[in-house]
């Protein structure tokens, strides 16, 4: 391990493909964690909460990944991919926790690959198509601000596993929100065209934000962040006109099923495969 070139050492001393992080299939991300659900916690409620938060993250990660090869600059692709990877990691931990809590023992793959659109509990804001870069940034700002505020609360949840997942997520989400907020200011305070598009994105996002606040009370924190960003960007606060229905009840737009078809296709065609 004395090689000067750090990446050459990656190829050393492995006869099989064990060195490649994506080459050997995944294991339980909660392996070895004490997974008992403490007394006094409604396990089904805990599982439902974990699934909703995991679904938000998985669907968001899939949309973020669609930006790869399409973002304005390479740096932005790397950033969006990294944010997606963090969310995917959060989703894996949360699905594993859900499977333990609801007593089914389902693993992360069972939740991610073998449920249909009607079983997903993500908010619709996560699933609607990427639109232009302004829309994706404003959506990320909304979702990451909400998730960060929510995870800050969940870090003191009575379930120690969920609390630990949330405490870890807070650190990652602070970077996500920072990225989205800086871009929103840059776009809003940029050219006439970028300003117009960002303003339109705020209006497009507005009908979906109500769903975020049905299960948790962090509206004030999120509104404060949005106000701070729109003021710095010279943008008006969007007018909130809620859409009927909610992704939290399995009511989705027509966009979720095609997203899942792409996400789940390989796993369903080869259910026993590892890769």
């Amino acid at each position: 391990m004395s090689d000067d070139h750090v990446y050459l050492t990656l190829a050393e001393g492995h006869e099989d493909d064990a060195r490649w992080a994506y080459g050997t299939g995944f294991e339980d991300p909660l392996h070895g964690v004490d997974t008992t659900v403490p007394e006094g916690i409604d396990a089904r409620e805990l599982a439902a909460l974990c699934v909703a938060l995991a679904d938000d993250a998985l669907v968001s990660a899939q949309r973020l990944a669609e930006w790869i090869t399409r973002a304005p600059e390479l740096e932005e692709e790397v950033a969006l991919a990294n944010i997606g990877l963090d969310l995917l990691g959060q989703a894996r931990l949360l699905y594993s926790r859900a499977g333990q809590a609801d007593g089914t023992g389902r693993d992360e793959d069972a939740y991610a690959y073998f449920r249909d659109a009607g079983d997903f509990r993500n908010v619709r804001l996560a699933e609607v198509p990427n639109g232009d870069f302004a829309f994706s940034i404003v959506r990320l700002l909304m979702l990451s601000s909400w998730r960060l505020a929510h995870f800050e609360q969940l870090a003191s949840h009575p379930d120690p596993v969920l609390a630990a997942i949330a405490a870890k997520g807070v650190k990652e989400l602070a970077y996500h929100r920072q990225y989205a907020a800086e871009w929103a200011v840059r776009l809003g305070d940029g050219t006439d065209e970028s300003h117009r598009r960002t303003r339109r994105a705020l209006e497009q996002v507005a009908p979906y934000v109500g769903e975020l606040f049905t299960a948790c009370d962090v509206r004030d924190e999120v509104v404060a962040v949005l106000r701070q960003v729109t003021e710095a960007a010279g943008l008006p606060m969007p007018v909130y006109r809620p859409l009927p229905g909610s992704g939290r009840h399995g009511e989705h737009t027509e966009h979720l099923a095609p997203l899942l078809a792409e996400l789940q296709g390989v796993a369903r065609a080869h259910p026993e495969a590892t890769w």
Binding site: M1, V6, T9, L10, A18, R19, A21, Y22, T24, F26, E27, P29, L30, H31, G32, V33, E75, V78, A79, A81, N82, I83, L85, D86, L87, L88, G89, Q90, R92, L93, L148, A149, E152, P160, V161, A163, A164, I165, A167, K168, G169, V170, K171, E172, A174, Y175, R177, Q178, Y179, A181, E182, V185, E221, V225, Q228, V229, A232
Partner: protein
């Protein structure tokens, strides 16, 4: 009894030397992800690891590497546990780890922000003092907060004009 103590210490030493898959100039101990190595009553070595980021794709590999190395050294019963609490912080990178990063052209992290209360959103440009790991100049700038792995950002030195990676505070 003496044998047991020695064995526990030896197991700890072996696990601590395993390199990180993504920053192979660091050991898992340097990176601060190896949280403990204990010898159970029945002789099982129990090594505890914590992920740097939730989505760290190298976690499964770190587990496999530690287990394989211990087995190679004669420990037949090995168990690897994941520890999530408290979450990893870049403050756990040891002084030796920081020195090795700098020697390999990667700027080590500064102190992470203390965790208390909600994370504030700061929109005004913040002056971060990151020295160039090549020439030592403080005249540097961030080019991207996200780089090839979650834990690093991309920076550039205005003095020697070289780009470099920087391990982010978290």
């Amino acid at each position: 009894m003496v044998t047991t103590l020695l064995d526990a210490r030896r197991a700890r030493h072996i696990a601590a030397q395993v390199p990180d898959p993504e920053l192979p100039m660091l050991t898992l101990a340097d990176l601060g992800v190896l949280r403990g190595v204990e010898l159970a009553e029945d002789g099982t070595v129990v090594a505890s690891l914590t992920p740097t980021y939730s989505g760290c794709p190298a976690m499964a590999e770190m587990r496999a590497d530690v287990a394989a190395r211990l087995r190679d050294e004669g420990y037949t019963r090995v168990e690897i546990r994941t520890v999530l609490d408290p979450p990893w912080t870049s403050d756990w990178i040891t002084p030796a780890g920081r020195r090795k990063l700098a020697e390999h052209g990667i700027a080590p992290p500064g102190p992470a922000a203390p965790r208390s209360g909600p994370v504030p959103l700061v929109l005004s440009p913040t002056r971060q003092a990151v020295s160039c790991p090549r020439c030592g100049s403080a005249d540097t700038e961030e080019t991207s907060r996200f780089a090839a792995t979650s834990c690093k950002a991309l920076w550039r030195c205005r003095a020697c004009r070289e780009p470099f990676e920087y391990v982010k505070e978290i």
